[in-house]
């Protein structure tokens, strides 16, 4: 067990002492305490910054993690609930020093968690996921405190709590939009676009004419801002989700084509010679050698396309749509100044997009387990 240095022990004690002694002073709505309360948090802030920024890192001590965690659990709810008490007044200085101390402590906690070596595999795994979680929560916390504390106009940036309330109360609308945009347009367009890109890449591989004629054209078209064709697709395929599928197909087709073609070319001459010595047919060489070798490239395109498809479908809805869909909702609610609904829709899109990307990435790990990039990631 690592032992605490005397300075660390001292600071842990100070933190605990501060917490218990000044808890009533710092309680909601922060207006009752004495003026000098603002300075109480300064030693803690300085210690956190000094610890996080120092160049030579000593091994952190476990007790410090608990102290930081206890501090956050105590003060984050206090600062959040005090927000209601300020009304239209500006929060006092000791409120802001407490907020800064909370952020500094969260940083310290993250610093401690990510630099420790844990003997227990479960604890190590927990710490691995805790670091990004704490970081994300700190951002949300700061967002909430700043927008409400500084009275930032809600149209510019609504606080997360407001977005969350709106999200919870409009679940049926959001679900209908999600169905229309994601389940119908994105998934269909993604499957069609990637599938077509893959098949055309194989056709190109077979035909020298396509190789010389279509591939340069493909590179040219993939450089175009494809989203510009969205209004034309709406004219061709109508207002409903079919026109969005068309946009998504166009957006995802060329990345898939270009990546699959380079993936099919990725096999070494020795590997191909080997197939030749077996007198393997073109199809056998494709299935047993060139496609497996191309998977890393193909999955690259699948990952790029998972985000492109969502962008394409949402933006395409700006150009005409029935009265449902994520893009439709964003464009109409922003016109009605219902910014919280826009943000709720963005939150849904972010979660859906990340989940989609994550699923593709997971499948990639399973399929290309043999690739050095995946192998190395596993052993570390």
């Amino acid at each position: 067990m690592r032992r605490l240095t005397s300075l660390q022990t001292f600071l842990v004690l100070i933190t605990g002492l501060q917490f218990f002694t000044f808890y009533p002073l710092l309680a909601t709505p922060y207006l009752s305490g004495p003026r000098w309360g603002a300075f109480l948090m300064l030693p803690l802030i300085i210690y956190c910054l000094a610890f996080s920024l120092r160049r030579k890192r000593k091994k952190p001590i476990p007790a410090l993690e608990w102290a930081a965690l206890a501090y956050l659990i105590a003060f984050v709810p206090i600062t959040l609930s005090s927000l209601n008490g300020f009304g239209s007044e500006a929060p006092p200085t000791n409120y802001w020093t407490t907020v800064i101390a909370c952020i500094a402590t969260a940083w310290l906690l993250n610093e401690l968690l990510s630099s420790s070596n844990y003997r227990n595999a479960w604890v190590a795994r927990l710490a691995f996921y805790a670091a990004p979680l704490i970081f994300g929560l700190s951002v949300l916390y700061l967002w909430e405190v700043l927008t409400r504390g500084l009275h930032i106009p809600f149209v510019l940036l609504p606080p997360p709590s407001m977005i969350w309330t709106r999200l919870i109360h409009s679940l049926p609308t959001l679900w209908a939009d999600f169905q229309q945009t994601f389940l119908k347009a994105v998934i269909t367009g993604y499957a069609l676009g990637c599938g077509l890109g893959f098949l055309v890449a194989i056709a190109i591989d077979r035909s020298p004419f396509l190789q010389k004629g279509l591939l340069p054209l493909g590179n040219f078209v993939s450089a175009l801002p494809v989203i510009g064709v969205a209004p034309i697709m709406v004219m061709w395929f109508g207002f409903d989700w079919q026109s969005k599928v068309a946009v998504v197909v166009i957006m995802t087709f060329f990345p898939m084509l270009v990546n699959t073609v380079s993936g099919l070319a990725a096999t070494s001459s020795m590997e191909k010679d080997l197939m030749r010595t077996y007198a393997a047919t073109w199809f056998q060489t494709l299935v047993k050698l060139r496609l497996p070798a191309a998977w890393p490239f193909i999955f690259n395109a699948l990952k790029i396309n998972s985000t492109l498809a969502l962008i394409g479908a949402i933006v395409a809805e700006f150009f005409g749509t029935p009265i449902v869909g994520m893009g439709f909702r964003i464009s109409t609610e922003v016109g009605r100044m219902n910014v919280d609904m826009v943000w709720a829709e963005i939150a849904v899109a972010a979660v859906a997009g990340s989940a989609f990307y994550g699923i593709v990435a997971l499948i990639e790990r399973a399929v290309t387990f043999w690739h050095p990039s995946v192998r190395n990631a596993r052993t570390v």
């Binding site: 010679d273 077996y278 007198a279 497996p292 192998r375």
Partner: protein, 263 residues
Amino acid sequence: MTITPASVVSARDLGLTFETNDGPVNALTGVNLDVNKGDFVSFIGPSGCGKTTFLRVIADLEKPTSGAITVNGTTPEDARKNRSYGYVFQAAALYPWRTIEKNIALPLEIMGYSAADQKARIDRTLDLVNLTGFGKKFPWQLSGGMQQRASIARALAFDADLLLMDEPFGALDEIVRDHLNEQLLKLWDRTNKTICFVTHSIPEAVYLSTKIVVMSPRPGRVTDIIESTLPKERPLDIRESPEFLEIASRVREGLRAGHSYDE
């Protein structure tokens, strides 16, 4: 121009010229050679002497530009299509997404062997190269020497009578190489195959071969063909015997005569 039908490989006045951007390069000129059934033939020479090119011509991976060559009495192309040889490359060239077992099964799958037959052949060849128990491993989990042994097993799996080996042990260290040379001789003895073996090591060539083909560069040609007088039974310490050293010095002379030692 006569071609002996009894020989496994028979080359008459064979030439190959590569057209490059810097003009034509004579990789092979006037090669006359017969490899008989059961021979262990080594091709030795400095880089650029065409030894690998000659092996690739036998395998129909390159087309000769002049002269004639037969493999198993047919053209190299027909021989390749009849799957009459196994080829071992400089690197193991195992596919990393297949286990060792599956890598050995690769030619068997392509040639349409039944599942039961595949299983029997995998077990037998793994045993031949002393890799029993490693079938479920992936290539990147094995050492370089084991990978090369697995690639030999793969070339043996479909029972071609001719084995073409292109510096298969070139990238391995001396100790592993000695070990594999010894195993290769045993394997050759057990399977009675014809082996064409490209190397740039004189001791390796002398230790393994019944016939040593000395080649030299610019243009690539055969300068000497030495029939080995060593017995078929060869322990590793035969390399200290006067007979061995005499053959080795003859090889070295052959290389010198072909200006292989010139700067």
